[in-house]
Every structure is written in C-alpha cells, then in structure tokens.
Amino acid sequence: MIASPPLLNAAHISRYFGEGAERFCALDDISLTLKQGQFISIVGPSGCGKSTLMQMLGGLTQPTQGDITIDGERIDGPQPNKIGIVFQDALLLPWKTALENIEFPLHLNKDGTKSDFRARAQEALDLVGLSDVGHRYPHELSGGMRQRIAIARGLIRNPKLLLMDEPFGALDEQTRTRMWGELLSIHARSGTSIIFITHSLLEAIYLADDVMVMAAKPGRIIETIQIDLPRPREVHMIGSDYVGSLRNHIWDLIAGPTAR
C-alpha cells in the first residue's frame, strides 16, 4: 500500500495578537497533518486558541508564522471549494427555508446548474436524516435539527475537509449523543476528513481517530493520542474502561503541570 500524501498540512504555525507591549502569543508552533478521510478531534481548556486554530485552518484568518496547505496549496483565504465549516451555532439565515439554507453555498459559488441545486440540497438533507423538513424555516426547528441542517450545508459541496467548531456544544446530552451517531455515519458514508473542535473529552475520544490535546497560554498541542476503537463506533464504547482511562489521561494532561 502506498501512503497517500496528507490532505491538510500545517507546519509550525503561530498566531500573535496585539501590538507592541500588548502583543501576545495565542498559538505557538502548531503542526498537524490530516490524511484523506481521517477524523481528528482537538480538545483543550477554554482560551487555548482552539477557535483561532479553526479559523486559520478555514482560511478566515492568517497565521503570523508558518503555512497551512490543503492538497499542497497554501491556504490564504476562505476555501469554499475544499473546506466546509460548521460553527458552534447553526447560523442559518432566518428568512430561508432549510433547503434554501443548504443551497446557499451552491448559489454563492455558482456550483452547477440552478435546476439541480434543489435535488442536491434534498440529498444532503436526507444524509442528515431530516428528509421531510426541507420547507420549514429555522425558527420552526429544534436546536438539534438546525445544527444538522448546518452540517448538511457544510457538506453540500462535497468538501474534502469538514471543520467543526464545537458544533454540539449548545445541545442537550441526549440530542448530542444522537448527533454523534449521525456524524459518525455521515463520516463513514461521505468519506470526508473531519477536524472536530470540542471541550468535551468523551466526545473527542468517541468520535475521532486521533485526539490532539491543547494547552493554553500560549495555545499549543501537548499530546496527540491515537484512539484504538474499532469502527463503526457504538455508544456503549463510551462506558468502556479503555475510554475511561483515556479520558482520565487527557484530563491529567489538561489539568496537570505540563499544561500550565
């Protein structure tokens, strides 16, 4: 088997904010590589720069030092053709129906003909298991449904990479557990790579192939942990000793002396 080149490569990137004496380092020397189809979670305490890292990976802000490449091309601005983003809040446009919201990236990028926008949006809606709410407005849907529509919107252009910034943070535990199952099956079916930012340790372990643990001040990666759980993942794995000991290990990393 020939090793495939990485999809995403970030080499020694740093991000500083402020000027002069106020200047501080938000992210220090971060490197990560992501293979096609890989699922990485990033966990860390609040204020460790997770969201800044995601914004840089999505091309929304630029690193002060270092380069991020996707498919060997430098990311110097938003990459709507290659990267889909799902934010902490669904951020659906309130005057558009579910389907129209999902079509929004297609319209923006004039991606294909208008006549097949609807069919593709419906397909994406089926993928997130909401086939029959296409004509409802966001305010008529529950938080979990809105977030699933945001995921469908992120996936509509078949991005090579899906960035997710604490997408389930605002959901209740039961909805979130269901969403994990949905996300895992979407990942299995679509084959996109996913970078998933969260501050829930169990969520990070349960979903990902690799968990990157970050520390704050300055934001940096302190350990990358491979998760040896078979796929498809089952909810009951969360209660296993293996996951429990991993969780404790990550907690010690975040709360322990190396993180300070």
Binding site: G59, I85, R153
Partner: protein, 242 residues
C-alpha cells in the same frame, strides 16, 4: 369596507349640518359643499399642482432613499465609519432644516429643484441613521459564516447585511418619507410658483376656505397613499423575514 364608507359619509353629513345650523363657523372649518364647489371651479389648477408636487416628491424620494440606503449600508458595515458618521447624522436630525431653506432657494431658485433638494435632505438623515443602526446590529458570526462559504464582499453587503437590516430599513423609509412629504409641502408654502402647498397658501391669503381645504385633502390623500404602499411593502417583507 362598507361600514367605513358609511362612517365617513355620516361624518361629512354631520360636518355640513353643523355648519348649516351655525354650530361651526364655515369661514373657519369650511363645509363639504364649499370644498366641492372649489373642486369644481379650480379642479384643473389643483390637478396641475398635484402633478408638480408628486413630481417633486418622487424625485426627492428617489434621491433620499437611494443615498440613504447606500451611505447607510456603507457606513453601517464598518465600525470605524459608523463611529465617525453617526454623531454627525444624529446632530443633523436635530437641526430644524427649515432654516436652510432660504439658502437652498438662493442656490436653486424657487422652482421645483429647491423643493426636491430640501425634501431629499429632510428624508435623508432619518433614513441613513436607521440603515446604519440596522446594519450595525448584525451578528458578525453570520458574516464569518458567509465568508467561509465563499461569499464576496458585495454579496455579503446585499444578501446578509441588507437582509438582516430590512426591518430597520423599512422603518427608516417610513419615517424619512413622512418627513420628506412634510418638507415639500412646507417649502411650497414658503416660496414657490406652483404645487399643492403653494395653492393652499395662495387661497388662504384670498380667504377661499373651500379651496384651502380641498388642497389639504389632496395632501392627505398623497400621504395616505404613500403610507399604504410602504405598509404593504413592510407587511410583505415581514412575512418573508419572520
């Protein structure tokens, strides 16, 4: 609808009766009959005047709406510009613009042009301020979302900013337009050669009460008509906004 017509008809009748019986002085409040006679005698003058006034209003609306919308959007979409422009515009709203009217007449003469400039100025400031406030209050995360999805600056301005600000834009339109109507009639009364305001003022000086009230009714009709159009637009938009 039928009920409303009956109410209006009985009020008109009551008005006429009150004047006939000497309860009200017809020289002050006029009578429906006097108004009807005035309409018959000087109807043509008023129709020509209506055309002039409407022309001035449409031109002033076009100027005030477009400049208010464009300047409001451009200033509102940027924190720094908002901070520079908002105090200026708020201050201008507080200035009684009528003190500038003689200056405008000196620049543009007593023809329709001075009315258009004056009316547009009266509508521009509240319109711009509403647009700035509406655009300014937008949740920036939506802008980040649109940028990540590949939206250009222009698309973001039109599809996101303007769309979110629609309720504010509509309220700005309503306030601005009513001030604009007032300003145009007022300026015609002050110095003009034609227009409803001019003829109302002219017949008042002749003590032709019927003609004065006929002119007033025409102005009310214009205001009501424009108000109707704006309410209709607002309702339609509210339906699509939710």
């Amino acid at each position: 609808m039928m009920k409303r017509l009956i109410i209006i008809a009985s009020l008109v009748l009551l008005w006429q009766m009150a004047a006939e019986w000497g309860v009200l002085n017809p020289l002050i409040v006029g009578t429906p009959l006097m108004i009807a006679q005035a309409a018959k005698k000087n109807g043509l003058i008023f129709i020509m005047a209506l055309r002039v006034t409407l022309f001035e209003m449409i031109c002033a609306c076009a100027l005030a709406w477009s400049s208010g919308l464009i300047i409001g959007m451009i200033c509102g979409a940027n924190k720094c510009r908002t901070l520079c422009v908002t105090p200026l515009i708020s201050a201008m709203i507080a200035v009684p613009l009528v003190v500038l009217y003689p200056v405008i007449v000196a620049w543009a003469g007593i023809g329709p042009i001075s009315k258009i400039i004056y009316g547009a100025a009266a509508g521009f400031f509240p319109m711009t301020l509403s647009v700035i406030n509406g655009v300014n209050g937008i949740d920036q995360r939506y802008i980040v979302m649109a940028r990540a999805m590949g939206a250009s600056r222009l698309t973001i301005l039109i599809d996101i900013y303007a769309r979110f600000a629609l309720p504010s834009i509509m309220s700005g339109l309503r306030i601005g337009t009513s001030l604009l109507i007032i300003a145009i009639i007022q300026s015609e009364m002050l110095s003009a050669t034609d227009g409803l305001g001019f003829w109302i003022s002219y017949y008042r000086s002749l003590f032709a009460v019927g003609d004065v009230y006929f002119g007033v009714i025409l102005v009310l009709c214009i205001a009501a008509f424009i108000n109707q159009i704006l309410s209709y637009a607002e309702q339609r938009l509210r339906f699509t906004m939710i």
